[in-house]
């Protein structure tokens, strides 16, 4: 396999709140190969966004602890100073956020906002950057870009705003694009347009994408590899084919049988009982144990490790053998 573009090992992130500490990410491990599209799937509070934003230094300032390594092309991002990290953000790694309305500065022209990154990184001169901004707007599918670059965000529709965000993220031709729930705020038809756009851009540039989403449909149709997160941990990680056919973790299986889809009217929906744990204490056992149908004593005592079970397939479960056999 290729040398990974990004390799994250043992990442921990904690937040200080007024009265307590939130253990948001509890030992996250994953890597992204050049050109790969990785999907990180999880429910709210599973730490899927936090884990990625934390090594990019994009979290608010109440982070209490950040540990582990996040090697991007050999450089550990967690060891970089603010200035060095700024050099990488926007130039080598672009980010698209969920809500394009609040993620754009409402009182600055979109053209200026797109040019800002290029000028910061001395990627292009002002004049070139302007031309490139217009080209980018055209490339992401905004009609009449030579007029529209002077508009303000509120003059665009939701889908168009997200296109502007994407143009901004790819302005300096990054090798890695992080898309944090980029279609969650959008209607299904627009979601499809945005995903199609991302796919085209990726193919043209051969950049890697990390797609953070709570939507299994989006992840499985868009990504090459899927990571399922729960309580700040990776529960299961597998290449798409393996994930679709052989996923074994009780949580993954529970989620799969909770998905309500068109055409599955007769599918038996099996709800996962209970709710996600409150992460105000360090984890010392499997976080899924209280909701798991196959849990044993051991699951309440030990934290499961992420183990390789073959075919680039990783699972964090004490009951892996029993479950695995059961699932097949």
């Amino acid at each position: 396999m290729d040398e990974p573009l990004l390799e994250v090992r043992d990442l921990f992130t904690q937040f200080q709140r007024v009265d307590d500490v939130v253990y948001a990410v509890n030992g996250m491990n994953f890597s992204v190969a050049p050109g790969e599209v990785l999907g990180i799937v999880g429910e709210s509070g599973s730490g899927k966004s936090v884990s990625v934003l934390s090594f990019l230094g994009l979290l608010r300032d109440n982070v209490k602890l950040k540990s582990g390594t996040a090697k991007f092309r050999g450089t550990d991002l967690l060891r970089l100073g603010r200035r060095q990290l700024e050099d990488i953000r926007g130039r080598d790694i672009g980010v698209v956020f969920q809500d394009p309305m609040t993620s754009l500065n409402p009182v600055r022209r979109v053209g200026d906002q797109i040019m800002e990154g290029m000028i910061t990184h001395h990627y292009a001169s002002k004049k070139v950057a302007l031309q490139r901004t217009i080209d980018l707007l055209g490339e992401v599918g905004i009609p009449e870009p030579q007029m529209r670059y002077r508009n303000y965000p509120f003059e665009f529709s939701g889908g168009m705003r997200q296109r502007v965000m994407i143009a901004m993220a790819i302005a300096c031709e990054p090798q890695l694009l992080i898309a944090d729930e980029p279609t969650t705020a959008l209607d299904v038809t627009v979601q499809m347009q945005i995903l199609a756009l991302l796919q085209t851009l990726r193919e043209k540039r051969n950049m890697s994408i990390i797609m953070i989403t709570h939507d299994f449909g989006v992840a499985t149709n868009f990504c090459d590899r899927i990571i399922v997160m729960y309580a700040g941990m990776v529960m299961e990680s597998a290449p798409l084919a393996e994930f679709l056919n052989n996923s074994v973790h009780p949580y993954t299986i529970g989620l799969k049988s909770s998905i309500i889809e068109v055409g599955n009217k007769n599918k038996e929906l099996v709800p996962i009982p209970g709710m996600a744990p409150v992460l105000t204490k360090p984890l010392n056992h499997c976080p899924y144990v209280s909701r798991c149908s196959v849990a044993q004593d051991r699951c309440e005592q030990e934290l499961p490790e992420l183990l390789h079970v073959g075919n680039e397939h990783y699972v964090a479960c004490h009951r892996i053998e029993e479950v695995g056999i059961h699932a097949k």
Binding site: R82, G90, T102, Y152, A171
Partner: protein
Amino acid sequence: MGLVQFLIKRVIAILITIIIVLAVAFTLMHVAPGSFFSSANISAQMGALALQSPILYQKYLKMFEARYGLNQPLMEQIVQYVWHSLTFNFGTSFENPSVPIITQLKTAFPISASLAVGSTILSIIIGIPLGVMAALKRNTWIDSLLTTVSVMGQAIPSFVSAVILVLVFGVWFPGLLPVNGWGTPENAVLPIIALSLGNIGVVTRYMRGSLIEGMRQEYIRTAQAKGVRYWSIVWKHGIRNSLTALVTVIGPTFAFTVVNTVWVENIFSIPGLGTLMASAFPSDDIPLAVTSVFILSLMVMGMNLLVDLTYGLMDPRIQLK
């Protein structure tokens, strides 16, 4: 195009406000029982004359009535008064009948205006960097110090800080700066300081709050994701956006500054509108009192108009509405 329409609308609104205020003030001052012009008051003032010399009394009464238009129907009096005021024809005061009020205003108004405007500008110039500092050093000792000091500045009225300044520069260190009068640039120093303390507090606190709020917005994170340098983010996305919001507090702040000017002028014996007012009100010199109020209110309304315009120019979302 939208802006011109907006401007016309606002000017009309101001005109209506002024007319209402003038009409109400006139009615209150001239007609309501107990006013200077009520028959009870007139007979009390001139009763003795009526007994001594009824003819002279009648003559004086006629003159008095003609002079203040009392012989006309009330509605006409009001209309006339409003029209006169709008054309800056204020007549003469009771105390000083030989000098038209407009002449008095010509010296007093520039003094008050320069104090109010000067201190507003000074407060903005000083308050913004202090507010930015407090916001960026949030929850440190610098922040607590700045916040506490600005609360104190806000809480202590200008007439109290003015007397403290008089105490300091009049009693403790006399001769350093003049503590009363007007005419030299030095004369303006202490009054402007007294006026500005509170406003600096307001601007600092507002700027702090709005910058903290602004730096929490998601577009800040977007700028960070683009790799934009910290200070560039603070300036381009934080401070610039906060300034737009700051413009909106300048209106009310200026209104309060004008009131404070009245007080400070009295403490430092500055011959501005406030001093005129302080001599007019207690001695029931109604034309002068109402006129000073009118001029000062006009100043406030003018500033409000300017503020609205600036806001309209700064925020593209308003322009296009």
